[in-house]
């Protein structure tokens, strides 16, 4: 059995350019195998120009990482398509398709080694085969998909794709044409004053009883709780998952990646790794989706 790989998923937040550069500088030195780069949430975010992302990508590649460019999830304009064509047109790095426009562009360019991103809604083997025939070699499982359904897909997929499961982070749950951060400040998206820059991990949304429920991150809505499958590592292994995706956060990133690495390498028991991760999380854990339950629930893995 091949060794499970560790991936850092695409950055969901909007940080100043230098903060982003510093972040990826640390990532280059971290024990991660794969790094997803690029702006996948909001086309108005441009602290990092495409050329900056290519610089980051080259540094990461020189450090021995596999680099993948994540495409924008919500494409609205011709300029969004232009950026997409640039990503697909470059020869050096793989692309993660997060929208069917990206798939169309990848097919047009004859790519045969791309990643079917979590927002492509691949839920059954027939759809997986459609994308596999067009060159998708890795499948990032939609977070809402339960382990059981994933197992069913894999059992019937031929060829079997490399499988990547989101294993840590606030879950991206929804995307909108509307910017909820701008809305909070009574601004329109087109004149948003880039308020996301002041919220390194989005804005907490609470119920009127004060319960942390969601996180507003521009046009994206995330969970408030932090998805964490460290305790479910034996099941992930048993299902043949090839890659674990950890999503970026503003603090303790290096410690988290090291903890995941040690858990994957068997240097620490999954339950202990999960226990240790609690101190590194900005909010309580959840893992319901993996267990086929409401995403915000938390289940203790069977021993």
């Amino acid at each position: 059995m091949t060794q499970m790989k560790l991936a850092l998923g695409p950055h969901q937040y909007y940080w100043p350019r230098q903060a982003m550069m510093d972040f990826y500088g640390h990532v280059a030195e971290s024990p991660v195998d794969i790094v997803y780069v690029g702006e996948s949430v909001c086309s108005r975010r441009h602290e990092m120009r495409l050329d900056d992302w290519f610089d980051v990508a080259r540094v990461l590649a020189e450090a021995g990482k596999e680099v993948v460019f994540s495409s924008l999830v919500l494409i609205e304009s011709e300029s969004d398509l232009k950026v997409l064509r640039k990503l697909v047109g470059q020869p050096d790095f793989r692309v993660e398709a997060n929208d069917m426009a990206a798939v169309q562009a990848l097919i047009g360019a004859g790519h045969t080694h791309w990643v079917a991103g979590p927002t492509l809604n691949v839920f059954n083997p027939e759809t997986m085969n459609v994308f596999a025939e067009q060159g998708a070699t890795r499948w990032a499982v939609p977070p809402e998909m339960a382990r059981e359904a994933m197992d069913g897909l894999l059992a019937a997929s031929d060829p079997r794709p490399e499988v990547e499961v989101t294993a840590y982070g606030r879950l991206p749950l929804a995307y909108s044409a509307r910017c909820f951060t701008a809305r909070h400040f009574n601004l329109q998206k087109d004149t948003c004053e880039f308020r996301c820059l002041q919220h390194a991990e989005g804005m907490p949304l609470k119920t009127r009883e004060g319960e942390a429920f969601l996180t507003l991150n521009g046009i994206q809505t995330q969970s408030a709780k932090v998805y964490n499958l460290l305790g479910d590592l034996p099941a992930l292994r048993a299902s043949g998952v090839d890659v674990l995706r950890v999503l970026p956060q503003s603090e303790h990133m290096s410690e988290l990646l090291s903890l995941f690495r040690r858990a994957i390498d068997g240097e620490i028991a999954p339950a202990d790794a999960f226990a240790q991760s609690q101190a590194l999380m900005p909010e309580a854990p959840c893992n319901g989706f993996w267990h086929g339950k409401p995403g915000l629930e938390q289940y203790v893995a069977a021993a």
Binding site: E76, M100, E126, A149, A174, Y175, S176, C179, T207, L216
Partner: protein, 337 residues
């Protein structure tokens, strides 16, 4: 383009009486679903059995109207045969098109029933001509329903760059999120539009009169609380009041309906081929009211052309049946974003 292709009015029906009402009130097409998880309005007491579907198709066809079948959820390995059987029945019964979201199902339909017309569901999240052309090139779709995320110029730009007919939402409940890319309901309840055909499903809803007011909960999560003088709305989770920073407000969207009646001439000029009315979960009375108004408006546009003006009684009739009794242009109007 606008002169050669009249706009089709596509109306919802969650039952046989609603279908007949829609046809009688002037719908060109009625879209429907079967009583199972194969469609995105899988609500208790709603939708069609095989027998009522056959009767509905007969009723519509005798009057020269079309029936479109929504099969727009994403099947999984364990339940795949239920979806393909439904496509087979639809083809056998003679529906005029199936509305699909899942690429695997499109391939199945395209290969098994090459004459069956395919529409791309709004649940397919195609917001650009490149995405739409993917489905056309791969599966031969002939129409795409756009998610409620594009501004009017963006809709026109899509139409100018694809040979696929474009259908847009004209009226009804407003999804604020990109359809097909929203797991909020799954996060809160375990059931999602994508996989279960339900958002904020009724079995997870609790209404509770408390000293603080009427509270609405979804799987225990407080979605909103209403004062005595407020009308308590259904707890669709993106339309509740929440706290962000120091404010409590409709952080995502108010309970409001989409109403694009005043944009009708612009939509026609852009080359929109069909206008969809949301609301298969609504009553025949709603269907009748909304269909009548939109039929009158589309007919008036044909005769009045550039002189078209929205009639006050149309707006009054539509406001009567709107969620929250208010309406918005949604993303068609850029500042909404």
């Amino acid at each position: 383009m606008t002169a050669t292709h009249p706009i089709e009015l596509v109306c919802p029906a969650g039952s046989l009486p609603a279908l007949k009402t829609a046809v009688d009130a002037g719908a060109d097409c009625v879209y429907v679903g079967f009583k199972n998880a194969t469609n995105a309005r899988n609500f208790t007491g709603l939708n069609f059995t095989d027998a009522s579907m056959r009767e509905g198709i007969r009723y519509a066809h005798e009057r020269g109207r079309k029936v479109l079948l929504a099969l727009n959820t994403y099947p999984q390995a364990g339940n795949w045969p239920e979806w393909t059987r439904t496509i087979d029945s639809a083809a056998d019964m003679g529906v005029d098109a199936v509305i699909l979201a899942d690429p695997g199902l499109m391939r199945y339909a395209n290969r098994t029933h090459p004459d069956l017309r395919l529409h791309l569901s709004v649940q397919g999240s195609a917001t650009s001509y490149e995405a739409i052309n993917f489905y056309r090139d791969q599966f031969g779709i002939q129409r795409a329903v756009l998610p409620r995320v594009l501004s009017l110029p963006q809709v026109a730009h899509v139409i100018a760059n694809t040979s696929v007919e474009i259908e847009v939402f004209g009226f009804g409940g407003l999804c604020v999120m990109v359809e097909g890319r929203c797991s909020l309901s799954a996060y809160a309840t375990g059931e999602s539009p994508n996989c279960n055909g339900a958002c904020s499903p009724g079995k997870h809803v609790r209404w509770e009169q408390t000293p603080k007011g009427m509270e609405t909960r979804l799987n225990g999560i407080l979605i909103d609380r209403f004062a005595d003088d407020e009308r308590a709305g259904y707890p669709t989770l993106c339309k509740g009041r929440f706290g962000v920073g120091d404010e409590t407000y409709y952080a995502i969207e108010e309970p409001t309906s989409l109403n694009t009646l005043e944009l009708l001439p612009d939509l026609a000029r852009a080359g929109v081929r069909a206008i969809k009315i949301e609301g298969r979960q609504r009553s025949p009375a709603y269907v009748q009211q909304v269909t009548r108004v939109w039929r009158a408006a589309i007919d008036r546009l044909k005769t009045d052309g550039e002189r078209f003006a929205v009639q006050p009684d149309w707006m009054a009739a539509l406001n009567n049946v709107s969620e929250g009794q208010s309406h918005t242009l949604g993303a068609y109007y850029r500042p909404w974003k």
